[in-house]
């Protein structure tokens, strides 16, 4: 091999077809952030239509959909809501949490050199690309994206004639989702094996930081739930392409298409879909909960309150998460008797969620809180998760959900948990681990400005949606205002749209801060936050193989503020007395 081909090859294997978990993590981080931008723009288009229905969108309208003369058509609106949710869920929140943070942090936080299966890891990233391409391409197939909602309920999603968005774009959508499923399965097997097999000496399960616990339990959820979605999506594909009719009833037909003999059941899809997608909502929150737990302990300079109850709560949420999927189907035509079981399990899942909130508050109680950017986002997470969790209880009640199901109340709920909580957790994690990833720190001033604006405008966007929901405004309506019931809701929708635009604009601060700090940020050492967990003892950024010494773990991750220790933190790798006396040692009577 000549020198230049070797260096090209070297560059390709280091940065493109990389097998190092840190590079793969960053690849996921950058890809998902780009998609975040796309998903955000789609949201703005939705909000535009709800605030100024059928009016030409200034500037971007003619550019993006000149075909419609810069105006959003009803079929394009259904594509917008479908694509927005698809991008945000499958291309942003899930991969950024499990794959970007998961890849970057798992080996570092447990003291491993890399993932157990580096090649599989690489493949899991490159499996995302067929998905990116398929769904990306569907944006160019009229009506510019699939139109059956991210839930893709048949027969709408199967009968090609039923709506413009059910044509080729829907086929591409299903192919994309199946690829995402395969990618995530490959990832999850890897995370599980790595965590079980490759922990550094002394890193017992009960010394793992909550971030790793969150990612570990999430990987279990993915490993068990994703096969169902992937198989379900393939079945929907064969329904469309080969006429298998898994989800089509007898004589299914739409828009005067010839009736097909289905012999299947539309509800089957809903069961399969939610069997995955309810665990998926926890896939989108458990890693963030873990990261936030670590960040709150670090910046309260105090041990995490109730470590073991926190671990237990994570496991309980995951376990119950598999038996609550029917709460999305209370009005679906599923037997109402079955609804009772799902309602009981759903209120039960609120219990461990509440325990988590109480423990975060307990961690801050009596601490010395430092309001750094990661901490602010972490507290923002708690504040908004409370709202999302509480609205969940209202919806868990079957008779009440009958009224608010498929209204803006649901939209308010899941945006509080997904934007208010999960996304705030992602920002917290980004500010927190940025120094480890790039050896430089993001600007604290701009980080705080970003937080203040984001927190205010997100609440301004999503809180009033509860009221729209109480007024029963349906979701996925291109124009609700021709109903007497919803005619008066335009001003409030305008207010929401203005807040949403402001939220979007505030993210420019983050983008500039993020990109600028990669090159110009303040250089920092190994442990800029005086944190205990293992990754902070590695170089910033860590080289190939991660540690320049063999990490040995001596204690749990949360020994902050010990009065018997000279410093207010006590890293896991630091030799010394295993457990300094502490007033309330849960650890002591466990072994």
């Amino acid at each position: 091999m000549s020198n230049s081909t070797r260096s090209v090859w070297g560059w390709l294997t280091t940065y493109v077809f990389a097998r190092d978990h840190k590079i793969i993590g960053l690849q996921f981080l950058f890809s998902t952030m780009l998609w975040f931008l796309v998903g955000g723009m789609l949201a703005m288009a939705i909000r535009w239509q709800l605030a100024w229905p059928w009016q030409n969108m200034p500037i971007v309208g003619p550019m993006l959909f000149s075909g419609e003369g810069g105006q959003i058509s009803p079929e394009f609106y259904t594509s917008l809501v479908t694509q927005h949710a698809t991008v945000m869920i499958f291309f942003v929140i899930i991969p950024i949490l499990t794959a970007a943070f998961g890849n970057y942090l798992i080996p570092l936080m447990i003291g491993a050199e890399d993932m157990a299966f580096p090649t599989l890891n690489m493949m899991s990233y490159w499996m995302m690309w067929p998905a990116f391409l398929l769904i990306g391409f569907s944006f160019f197939v009229p009506p510019y994206g699939a139109g059956a909602g991210w839930t893709s309920y048949p027969p709408l999603s199967v009968l090609v004639e039923s709506s413009p968005g059910s044509g080729l774009a829907q086929t591409l959508w299903l192919g994309g989702v199946a690829c995402v499923g395969v990618a995530s399965m490959m990832g999850s097997v890897n995370y599980l094996t790595t965590i079980i097999q490759m922990r550094a000496p002394g890193m017992t399960f009960l010394r793992m930081p909550m971030t790793v616990w969150g990612l570990f339990i999430t990987a279990i959820l993915q490993a068990f739930a994703l096969p169902v979605l992937t198989a379900g999506a393939v079945m929907q594909l064969t329904d469309r392409l080969l006429g298998t009719g898994f989800y089509l009833p007898e004589l299914a037909s739409a828009n005067n298409s010839p009736a097909v003999s289905g012999g299947g059941q539309p509800l089957l899809w809903q069961h399969l879909f939610w069997f995955y997608s309810h665990p998926a909502v926890y896939i989108m929150i458990l890693p963030a909960m873990g990261m936030v737990s670590d960040i709150i302990a670090t910046f309260s300079r105090k041990p995490l309150f109730g470590y073991k109850p926190m671990v237990l709560a994570t496991c309980t949420i995951a376990g119950l998460g598999f038996v609550v999927w029917g709460h999305h189907m209370y009005t679906s035509g599923m037997s109402p008797v079955l609804g009772i079981t799902f309602a009981a399990a759903t209120v039960a899942i609120a219990i461990p969620s509440a325990v988590k909130v109480f423990n975060w508050l307990g961690t801050m109680w009596g601490g010395k809180i430092q309001f750094s950017s990661p901490m602010l986002f972490a507290i923002g997470f708690v504040s908004m998760f409370i709202i999302g969790g509480l609205s969940g209880i209202l919806m868990a009640s079957t008779p009440v959900d009958v009224v608010i199901h498929d209204t803006y109340y649901i939209v308010a709920h899941f945006h509080y948990v997904l934007v208010g909580a999960a996304t705030m957790g992602i920002f917290a994690g980004t500010y927190f681990w940025f120094p480890k990833m790039f050896g430089r720190q993001m600007s604290e001033f701009w980080g705080k400005a970003h937080f203040a604006l984001t927190f205010i405008f997100i609440n301004g966007t999503f809180f009033p949606m509860h009221l729209l929901g109480a007024g029963n405004m349906p979701r996925r309506y291109a124009d609700p205002y021709h109903f007497e019931l919803f005619a008066d809701m335009l001003p409030l929708n305008r207010f929401i749209t203005i807040c949403a635009l402001a939220t979007m604009a505030s993210q420019a601060i983050f983008m500039l801060n993020f990109l600028g700090s990669i090159f110009f940020g303040k250089r920092v050492g190994r442990n800029p936050w005086n944190s205990n967990t293992l990754e902070w003892s590695a170089p910033s950024p860590p080289g190939h193989g991660n540690y320049d010494f063999q990490p040995i773990v001596h204690r749990g991750p949360y020994e902050y503020g010990n009065p018997n220790h000279p410093r207010d933190f006590h890293p896991q790798t630091e030799p010394g007395p295993e457990d300094l006396t502490s007033p309330l040692q849960e650890v002591s009577h466990e072994s």
Partner: protein, 304 residues
């Protein structure tokens, strides 16, 4: 700066509560940012249950919000000169803050069962041959009307004199307009001709998805005459947002007159209208052969 952040977090429970109170005030006003008036006396308890749960979660929302504010205010590193409280947790606290929510939540799950069974499980019954209610031979009340949802409209059919659907004397209703007598228990049968739809009448607290290939049963008793909107609440294609219908609640006499006028119209109906025919053609296929009316219509459709 710590002060600023604590106050920012305090603004959430404060503004949140105000926002909700403002919404509640619109309850009877012209602005509709709250549940519309409920006219279904069989679902009164739904609103009560909602208010009860809302009060409970409202209390928790405000309480946790205040605690969050207080902790960020008091334990701000720049003002708190106390040493850090070095604790890893508390078994006692963990027990109580698991047990108390558990008792409340499970209590709630049990308490709501009755409401759920009233609105979705216990279908209204008619006395059987013995003429007495609450005996073993009670019959489920047959539907007085049928809804066929299709992209993007609602079609209705009434049972006619014999009180049974799928018989010769069925009456075809107007598109997008359902009439029911005030103060009487009504049972409806829902069907879909193409994709999923959801039959949602906010004023009745009634929502039921309609699944092609199967039939849903709903019931209610509208106690206040008037006209109320029917909303489609399940994404059904590009025109989902247009799928608006109207429920007219009127006196028994008005209702009978309306049915008579429909019947009169029916015998003058122009059978070459394709859409009507198609609905019934498909429909008779689904139910495995319906009354002569359906057959006639499908013949008309076929000939056309």
């Amino acid at each position: 700066m710590g002060r600023f952040w604590s106050l920012l977090f305090l603004s959430v429970p404060v503004l949140g509560t105000l926002c909700y109170l403002a919404g509640m005030l619109t309850r009877s006003g012209p602005l509709a940012l709250w549940f519309p008036e409920n006219v279904n006396s069989m679902a009164n308890e739904v609103d009560q249950l909602h208010d009860l749960i809302l009060a409970l979660i409202g209390i928790v929302f405000v309480a946790t919000g205040l605690v969050l504010f207080w902790f960020t205010w008091k334990y701000d590193a720049s003002v708190n000169d106390q040493p850090v409280r070095f604790v890893h947790g508390s078994h006692k606290l963990e027990f109580w803050w698991t047990a108390i929510p558990a008792v409340i939540l499970i209590g709630l799950a049990i308490y709501q069962l009755k409401v759920w069974s009233d609105v979705k499980i216990r279908r209204p019954m008619l006395a059987g041959l013995d003429g007495q209610m609450d005996t073993a031979d009670d019959q489920p009340m047959p539907p007085q009307f049928e809804v066929v949802a299709r992209q993007f409209e609602w079609r209705f059919r009434y049972a006619g004199e014999d009180q049974l659907l799928d018989t010769v004397d069925d009456i075809l209703g107007d598109v997008n307009e359902l009439h029911v007598p005030v103060g009487e228990i009504q049972v409806g049968s829902l069907k879909a001709a193409d994709v999923l739809h959801s039959f949602f009448i906010p004023a009745l607290r009634l929502k039921s998805d309609i699944v092609p290939g199967s039939q849903q049963i709903v019931w209610f008793r509208a106690d206040k005459p008037g006209s109320y909107e029917i909303v489609c609440a399940e994404l059904c294609g590009w025109g989902h947002y247009k799928m608006k219908g109207r429920l007219v609640v009127e006196t028994k006499d008005e209702y009978q007159l309306y049915l008579q006028s429909l019947r009169a119209k029916q015998y003058q109906r122009d059978f070459s209208q394709p859409s009507v025919a198609q609905v019934y053609e498909r429909d008779s296929g689904e139910t495995g052969g319906s009354g002569p009316l359906g057959t006639n219509l499908s013949l008309a459709g076929g000939a056309q």
